[in-house]
Amino acid sequence: MTADTASENVLDVASLTGPAGRPAIFDVSLGAPRGGLTVVLGPIHSGKTMLLRHILGLECAERGTITIDGDDLDARGESEAVLRRARSRTGVVFEGAALLRRLSVLENVELPLLEHTDASPKQARELAHWLLEDVGISANEDMMPTELDRAEQRRVALARALALRPPLLLLDEPTSGLDSHAASELDETLSHLQQWGGFGIVILSHDVRYAFGHPGRVHVMVGGSIIESGDGETLRHSQHEIVRRLLDRRGVA
């Protein structure tokens, strides 16, 4: 499945089975090209979030390797220092945005800059301000996250994820809870930002909108395994009944 060489990929997952002791994903291999778009498509509880947790070092794997930006992480568990380095090069937008409630929108975006770089508070503030403008939030950056709606929260989380200019951006269910208009606006912002930042994007979603209409590779995950990979056209002619059902909007997705 990972035909591309490691240097072209910003993320490589090889034969990943985990978590240790109670595996929920089995022998998953995939690669995400630098500056490209990779989609992991699957119904809810298919193991997408578990895959994300492994990539982020939140779970110990039983077998397999994860390579982020050329750095091998032993998926069976890594020291905090190694994880910390990997995390500073991975931007992530969680389904629930996960913004700190006691900090304002602007302060949330400043946080990774203050934590992971030696930027001065003033520099961090300027950069955060600029990032928020870039994701389309400018008027209300002194508001608290709870005052924003779901789409705006996700945009703030996106600004925070991009604060360290990571080569890899992970998005978990970016469209869940958004109407189709807000979802396509978010997609536009993403592709605009990608042109500027050149980061590789991995989207984990059950939303079939990500199956078609982009040049990226789609991996279909069902029951913890990747059962089909390819572009939209390949998937449309998949041998797997479950893939065709998933792509059919009336189907199980």
Binding site: P19, G21, R22, R53, L56, G57, L58, E59, C60, G77, S79, E80, A81, L83, R84, R85, R87, S88, T90, V92, F94, G96, A98, L100, R101, R102, L103, S104, E107, N108, E110, L111, P112, L114, E115, H116, T117, D118, A119, P121, A124, R125, R160, L164, R165
Partner: protein
């Protein structure tokens, strides 16, 4: 892009504490010893990051402390103020009623003097803050854990103890003594109202008797207690909130347990402090 600073701590000092890679069953298997270790780490981590907060000039977390102070401290002001006046009244009546048969009602004024600042003020404020905030703190952390927000913080390389618990601890370290000083004053006011309106003493007599019994050292001991209580409240509420199980009712149960154990914890800490001062009289 600027370079990464080296880890502030040796690998895993407070960081291992909330390691989400530890599964629920591992946590259960760790048993009492494991819980003791993880709680010690929580306590040490919280104090470490409190110390870091007090010297750091990094703006974002600092404003978090200010908002926690507004929430935990300033928000409790009305509750504490009204309760303190009432407690001053009650204490005066109770002592006066007990001592009436000896014709020694005026001792109730002295009692306010030596008991108010040293015992009644700090313990009442701590219990009021528990009633108002312990369940909120535990509930907030528990819901963050249930929504995987705590994991999200870790995934971004942000230590949850540093960003969620240390600001609360820092805020309460200031808020509780601050509320205690206000309560001490208002307990005296309540006592004054009782002495004037009901017991029929004069203002100057009240303050003379009061000054004879009140010492600043009592107040200092009271403030020392309130700092101890602040730590106990945050530690217990945070421990309950962060170790919530993944069940539907678990969040409300964690909030309830946080209140119960905080009350017991505050009273236990008070007993210990009192015992220390009782058995080592030189400290008095």
């Amino acid at each position: 892009m600027t370079s990464l600073p080296p880890d502030v701590l040796p690998d895993g000092v407070p960081n291992v504490l909330l390691d989400p890679r530890t599964t629920g069953s591992q946590r259960a298997a760790a048993g009492a010893t494991g819980r003791f270790v993880s709680r010690s780490r929580l306590a040490i981590g919280a104090l470490y990051w409190f110390a870091w907060l007090s010297v750091s000039r990094r703006a974002a977390v600092g404003t978090g402390v200010r908002r926690e102070f507004e929430n935990l401290g300033v928000g409790a002001l009305r509750l504490v103020a009204s309760s303190a006046v009432l407690m001053g009244l009650i204490a005066t009546f109770q002592v006066a009623a007990q001592l009436a048969q000896y014709g020694a009602q005026s001792v109730s004024i002295s009692a306010i003097g030596w008991f108010g600042a040293r015992e009644l003020g700090p313990i009442a404020v701590a219990l009021l803050v528990v009633a108002r905030s312990a369940s909120a703190i535990a509930g907030e952390l528990a819901s963050m854990r249930a929504n995987a927000e705590i994991d999200a913080l870790r995934a971004m390389g942000l230590d949850p103890v540093k960003y969620l618990i240390a600001p609360k601890l820092a805020a309460l370290f200031f808020a509780l003594p601050f509320l205690t000083i206000i309560a001490d004053g208002l307990i005296v006011l309540g006592g004054l109202i009782g002495a004037l309106a009901v017991l029929g003493f004069g203002t100057s007599f009240f303050f003379e008797t009061f000054r004879g019994a009140f010492t600043l050292r009592d107040m200092a001991i009271g403030l020392f207690k309130s700092v101890t209580f602040a730590f106990v409240i945050i530690f217990i509420a945070a421990d309950e909130g962060l170790n919530v199980e993944s069940r539907v009712t678990a969040i409300s149960e964690a909030a309830t347990r946080a209140v119960i154990f905080s009350v017991v914890g505050v009273l236990a800490a008070d007993t210990v402090v009192n015992a220390v001062f009782y058995f080592i009289p030189r400290l008095l």
